[in-house]
């Protein structure tokens, strides 16, 4: 039943710094299923962008990527991405897996018209340019852009939202199987963010795309993702179909994250902070990396590292105490739970000062 288009196994990314080895991705296992939208959520520094980059073997020097990334084309043999040579990688990156980054501003050459970007991309990859340009116009129109106007413009003549949509069109012009989007809406306004997500979902349905959508914006992500992956401290701590993610959240961190996310209808008294602060990539926290901030942690969590365990259908969580977390950390918006329960505050000595030095 499982048909992964990208398979990531035991992936780590490390940088050697003067103060020690900084591990920014730690032994991550992750599958992206064909034609799904997998949402990866995490705070800044959780490792989510590095996971995306390593899928294209694009981690910058002096970062070191280890583990395996396997790409399974629709037909043909599996490809080991981290073993590709320069030329193979160049083709793989736009033709099979394309990526849209946060700053569309810097993804375009400022002295080249948008049309030239499309033509050169098609030429460099030996695609039929005329057919490709027709496809490009079509994509731009689907993204609510006027193709004639956009193609004839220089990047600075377009607004941030227009540029970002033009970049989405450019990334799709070679008809890739997979689109990786890393904070594609972060620099944009609310209305544009929501609009782009809505347009992306339409495109996905029309083009049978697979998407890996990475963001810190949890509410936005739940509106596009079929399945969620939560990163904390350089590893994935929970995988769940989006509905189960919202309704049967398993990991204590995810439960606290949902409670700290303000939205416009939740009672303000139910919006709470997560105690403590996030871990440092150089200092390895023994046991579960979330234990210093976790309200249900026990001694076991201080020494033993939890593996991903079953937490429901297609639902995994890296926690020994999923049942306790569900019983003791009420999540607003979820039914059940004792309403009279004390709000989870964790230990005051959780680690607020620990990263201070």
């Amino acid at each position: 039943m499982s048909d992964p288009v990208l398979e990531v196994e035991d992936l780590s990314v490390a940088f050697d710094l003067s103060r020690g080895r900084s591990t920014v991705v730690r032994n991550v296992d992750l599958d992206v299923e064909r034609e799904e939208v997998l949402g990866v959520v995490g705070e800044s520094g959780s490792g989510k962008s590095m996971v995306a980059l390593s899928m294209l073997d694009a981690v910058m020097e002096p970062g070191r990527t280890t583990g395996t990334v396997t790409y399974h084309p629709e037909d043909g043999d599996p490809v080991s991405v981290l073993d590709l040579d320069r030329e193979e990688l160049r083709r793989f990156r736009w033709e099979e897996v394309a990526m849209v980054f946060q700053g569309a501003m810097s993804s375009f050459n400022p002295v080249t018209r948008i049309r030239t970007h499309f033509r050169e991309t098609l030429q460099d990859h030996d695609y039929d340019v005329e057919a490709g340009m027709d496809r490009a116009d079509d994509l731009l129109e689907k993204l609510y852009l006027d193709p004639d106007r956009v193609m004839g413009s220089y990047p600075h003549e377009l607004s941030g939202g227009m540029k970002q949509r033009a970049l989405v069109a450019l990334s799709l012009v070679l008809e890739p199987e997979v689109l990786i989007l890393d904070e594609p809406t972060a620099a944009l306004d609310l209305l544009m963010q929501r609009s782009i997500v809505s347009l992306l979902r339409d495109l996905r349905d029309e083009l049978d795309l697979t998407m890996l959508f990475i963001t810190h914006d949890l509410p936005l992500l739940t509106k596009i993702a079929d399945r969620m992956a939560v990163m904390y401290a350089f590893d994935v701590v929970e995988f769940a179909p989006t509905e189960a993610f919202l309704e049967e959240t398993a990991h204590p961190y995810t439960r606290l994250l949902l409670n700290t996310t303000p939205d416009v209808t939740a009672p303000v008294s139910e919006i709470q902070t997560i105690p403590g602060s996030k871990p440092d990539p150089v200092e390895r926290i023994p046991g579960c990396s979330f234990h210093p901030r976790c309200p249900v942690a026990t001694e076991r969590c201080e020494s033993e590292e939890p593996r991903l365990v079953d937490a429901g259908e297609d639902h995994l969580a890296a926690c020994f105490y999923v049942d306790d977390a569900r019983a003791e950390i009420p999540v607003r918006g979820q039914g059940g739970g004792e309403t009279g329960a004390e709000p989870p505050l964790g230990d005051a000595d959780g680690g607020g000062d620990a990263d201070g030095d």
Binding site: E43, S44, Y144, S159, G160, G161, M162, D189, L190, L191, M192, Q193, R194, S195, S198, L199, H216, D217, L218, P219, L220, T222, K223, L246, L256, L257, L258, T260, T261, P262, D263, V264, T265, A266, V268, I271, Q272, T273, I274, S277, K278, G333, G352, D353, D355, G356
Partner: protein
């Protein structure tokens, strides 16, 4: 009881940038259209008041914020601090009852990027005690430092002496932002304008920072003008402080009102669209984009009539012809839309559907 004038009162304030007179355009013989970043805005901010100002980038919200704290001279209208015209005091026009530097000290700012708001080559203690030295020359060095340490303890940066003696790069983003907030509050301000003050912080730190701002509001009796592009955050801060939401679009305030009313029952179509754009975890809004155009018009050339008519899902012919005024739609609640008037010609005019 005589009514005290508000802490800050904006009356018909406009701010224009550019236009004739630019050196480059003069040399090139070009006529630049001026941009009216703020257009005829009237707003009072009282004691212990919280106004959350929201809008898309380029709508003029930062410029309006700067005008409110006397950091941007308006090209039209007046800005008053406790009844004193701020720019009359600045220019020495008439008899200033409150001198300009006292006004500037009473109106403080917290920026989005705390990293660039602090001198990287100075210990934060120096950055914090210098303004105290300037404005409170009677304090001794020990007294100045004590004020800083006390506030550091209050915002949870302990041991205070250790934190105060660090350089900005030795602090996390959340800690830097707390330092900047402390610096503003050390001046005992009546109003703090916080411009996207939490946008750069991690999601899990935003609520904490807003709670801290509200906690300090009680301690210092200050008011906030909280500028944000994020409706969910604006609503959190305003609702916890019983404040107001002000919505800005292309230089104008299109809706101002008590936070519960504006969120639960937004009156202006633009506010309704912003609410759609703010996804709720547990509610599914309509799928379709509810605007006729997703792109904002060029602010140098705003649409005639109602500025929102080119995107508004409710627009009719009347909106193209005439710019609506702010109409009352509740207690302290106004909306700049003809739909607030039962008997307006709007209701009989043609629907726009281009």
């Amino acid at each position: 009881m005589a009514t005290e004038p508000p802490v800050v009162s904006l009356d018909g304030v406009s701010v224009e940038f550019g236009g004739s007179g630019g050196l480059l355009s003069g040399l090139l013989g070009r006529e630049e259209e001026p941009v009216r970043a703020v257009d005829d805005v009237t707003l009072d901010i009282g004691e212990n008041d919280v106004v959350a100002l929201i809008g898309e980038s380029g709508c003029g919200k930062s410029t309006l914020g700067k005008a409110a704290i006397g950091a941007q001279r308006p090209t039209g209208g007046t800005v008053s601090y406790r009844g004193q015209d701020v720019w009359a005091a600045r220019d020495g026009r008439g008899e200033a009852e409150i001198p300009f530097d006292r006004i500037r000290r009473s109106l403080q700012i917290v920026h989005q990027d705390p990293g660039s708001a602090l001198n990287p080559n100075q210990r934060v203690l120096t950055s914090l005690t210098l303004p105290l030295k300037k404005w409170f020359p009677d304090l001794s060095r020990v007294e100045r430092e004590e004020r800083v340490f006390t506030l550091f303890e209050h915002v949870g940066m302990t041991p205070a002496e250790d934190f105060a003696n660090r350089y900005p790069h030795q602090l996390s983003g959340g800690e830097q932002q707390r330092v900047v907030l402390v610096r503003a509050l050390l001046m005992n301000p009546d109003l703090v304008m916080a411009d996207e003050a939490i946008s750069a912080l991690d999601v899990s730190l935003r609520v904490e920072m807003m709670d801290l701002m509200l906690d300090l509001q009680d301690v210092f009796d200050t008011s906030y003008l909280f500028i944000s592009h994020d409706l969910a955050n604006a609503r959190y801060l305003a609702e916890k402080s019983d404040g107001r939401i002000a919505v800005m679009y292309l230089g104008q305030l299109v809706e101002v009102g008590p936070v519960e009313e504006v969120i639960a029952d937004p009156q202006h179509p633009y506010t309704q669209v912003l609410k759609w754009a703010t996804p709720d975890l547990y509610e599914d809004p309509a799928e379709r984009v509810p605007v006729r155009s997703v792109d904002i018009p060029d602010p140098r050339n705003p649409p005639a009539g109602c500025r929102f008519h080119t995107r508004c899902p409710e627009a009719r012919e009347a909106c193209r012809a005439e710019d609506p005024d702010p109409y009352p739609v509740g207690e302290g609640h106004a909306s700049r839309c003809f739909r607030a008037l039962d008997d307006h010609a709007y209701w009989d005019s043609e629907v726009l559907d281009d």
